[in-house]
């Protein structure tokens, strides 16, 4: 099924999404990778207010490439980065900020139970950085720019950003896990064949 949603995302909106569905997103997304996650977690643990609101927000695992023009930024390439690196830092983020969706690539092992009833994981095609840039209409804000271009938090205004595949829905269904279950059966068959030789 195909969906079109606008941010901020409500709980009702994300409950409609099922693993394997296609989604196009309009509104704003916040890029965050390793360093930004560390900074958000640090602020949360010290009860410091974040410089940006995350209620109903969408986090994008992305270290973009931009070109600075006279008085603005041009997004050159902005594809997803490997989400797995953020897995350990994600529970604190989901539990304490009210984010409703995480966009990334490759999935995050074991987080499906954490997302239940409140958040979804959306897969953007890895490497499709110029296609992603086409879906970003402007840079609305930059936070923590001192972390460098890739690690800063970029607030992007997006229009029909996608196709995003619902990789993990809010009912505990994890498409990656299903694929890996099947793959592990295939692997077992190969291992058994090699052991019997």
């Amino acid at each position: 099924m195909e969906h079109r949603l606008t941010t901020p995302l409500t709980k009702e909106a994300i409950l409609k999404l099922k693993a394997g569905d296609i989604l196009y997103l309009t509104g704003s997304v916040f890029t965050a990778r390793d360093e930004a996650h560390r900074h958000i977690l640090d602020a949360l643990s010290h009860h410091r207010k974040l410089p940006f609101g995350l209620t109903g927000a969408v986090i994008y695992h992305c270290g973009p490439l931009l070109r600075k023009t006279e008085n603005s930024w041009q997004v050159v390439s902005a594809g997803p980065t490997t989400s797995e690196r953020m897995t350990q830092m994600t529970p604190a983020l989901v539990e304490n900020t009210g984010i409703r969706a995480i966009i990334g690539k490759g999935g995050m092992k074991g987080i499906a139970p954490l997302l239940k009833g409140r958040c979804v994981y959306l897969a953007y095609t890895g490497g499709c950085a110029v296609l992603a840039a086409e879906g970003i209409s402007r840079v609305a804000n930059i936070h923590w720019q001192n972390l460098g271009m890739a690690e800063a938090v970029w607030e992007f205004e997006v229009k029909d950003f996608g196709p995003l595949i619902v990789g993990i829905d809010s009912y505990g269904v994890d498409l990656y896990e299903k694929v890996l279950e099947k793959a592990s059966e295939a692997l077992k068959a190969i291992v058994m064949a090699s052991d019997s030789k």
């Binding site: 394997g20 296609i22 992305c62 270290g63 973009p64 490439l65 070109r67 050159v76 390439s77 902005a78 594809g79 980065t81 490997t82 797995e84 690539k105 490759g106 999935g107 897969a123 095609t125 890895g126 490497g127 499709c128 950085a129 110029v130 296609l131 840039a133 086409e134 460098g148 271009m149 890739a150 196709p163 595949i165 990789g167 498409l175 990656y176 299903k178 694929v179 890996l180 099947k182 793959a183 592990s184 295939a186 692997l187 068959a189 190969i190 291992v191 090699s194 030789k197």
Partner: protein, 275 residues
């Protein structure tokens, strides 16, 4: 008499870097198109469509295909009759610094421990430049930008010489462990033999080979990898690997080193024949 001026060389290397980042080689585009055509899984098909569209936009706009513009590997083939009156390493670094600023490329190169970014994609040991000396008058430069998503999924093992049955298992297990993380459909480079470091080199070389016919062993490995069903981006599908390439070298009678290097679908490479 020197046959090529430094200025001419630098100008061409900058062009070559830009080409490698913006235009995917024809063999890879064809392989991806064929994969799209054959794919029976609709989610995988949507991922492959996005990839093909992305390749098209990058070429038209002259923008890097992927925001991970990689670290740089250069291979220089130089014949014994070629006379060069400048430092090739230095000229390549200058070209890379220039391309980093102008294309732009993402500054990806950091100190391994302090993580301090050099901001110009050069550093100790990077770019990786190797020279092949040949007879005659060849002068050719190959460039390969390599992203971290796929490189991070690579593995190496030192097997016992009696364990050659383990090779297939090791290759398939490596692809299984990588799942959707290295941006499949991938190309798998396998290096067998040599030593610890030679095997790693061989696997990288194998991953970067043109996508030509696979031999029987390579085809067997490729079929085994594709039974996993990981598919494009790990969301399930018929094709996990576009190809498996194996390069071998003789090794010590007591060793069996095996390295697996993974290359994402953005199989970027370009070369320029100066002479």
């Amino acid at each position: 008499m020197p046959i090529i001026s430094r200025d001419f060389f630098v100008k061409n290397i900058i062009e070559l870097i830009i080409q490698s980042e913006t235009i995917l080689p024809e063999d890879t585009v064809i392989a991806l198109e064929n994969t799209w055509q054959k794919e029976s899984n609709t989610v995988a098909k949507s991922q492959l469509s996005a990839i093909l569209k992305n390749i098209e936009i990058a070429r038209e706009k002259k923008h890097p295909l992927c925001q991970d513009t990689g670290i740089f590997i250069f291979n220089v083939t130089i014949g014994k009759n070629i006379v060069i009156d400048f430092d090739i390493n230095d000229a390549i670094c200058e070209s890379l610094r220039y391309a980093t600023e102008t294309l732009p490329l993402r500054p990806n190169v950091v100190h391994p421990l302090t993580r301090e970014n050099s901001l110009d994609n050069t550093g100790d040991g990077l770019p990786d430049i190797t020279f092949n000396l040949t007879e005659g008058s060849d002068f050719e430069v190959f460039v390969y930008p390599k992203g971290a998503g796929s490189e991070n999924m690579s593995r190496l093992a030192m097997f016992k010489p009696s364990q050659n049955e383990e090779i297939k298992r090791f290759v398939v297990e490596t692809v299984f462990a990588a799942g959707g993380m290295p941006c499949p459909p991938i190309i798998v480079g396998v290096g067998i033999g040599g030593s610890f470091d030679i095997a790693a080199r061989l696997s990288k070389k194998a991953a970067l080979r043109p996508l030509d016919e696979m031999n029987d062993f390579e085809q067997e490995l490729c079929d085994a990898v594709n039974t996993l069903g990981i598919g494009a981006m790990g969301l399930g599908g018929d094709t996990t690997a576009l190809a498996v390439h194996v390069n071998t070298a003789h090794c010590h009678t007591a060793s069996l080193p095996v390295a697996v290097n993974i290359q994402c679908w953005a199989n970027r490479r370009a070369h320029k024949k100066f002479v």
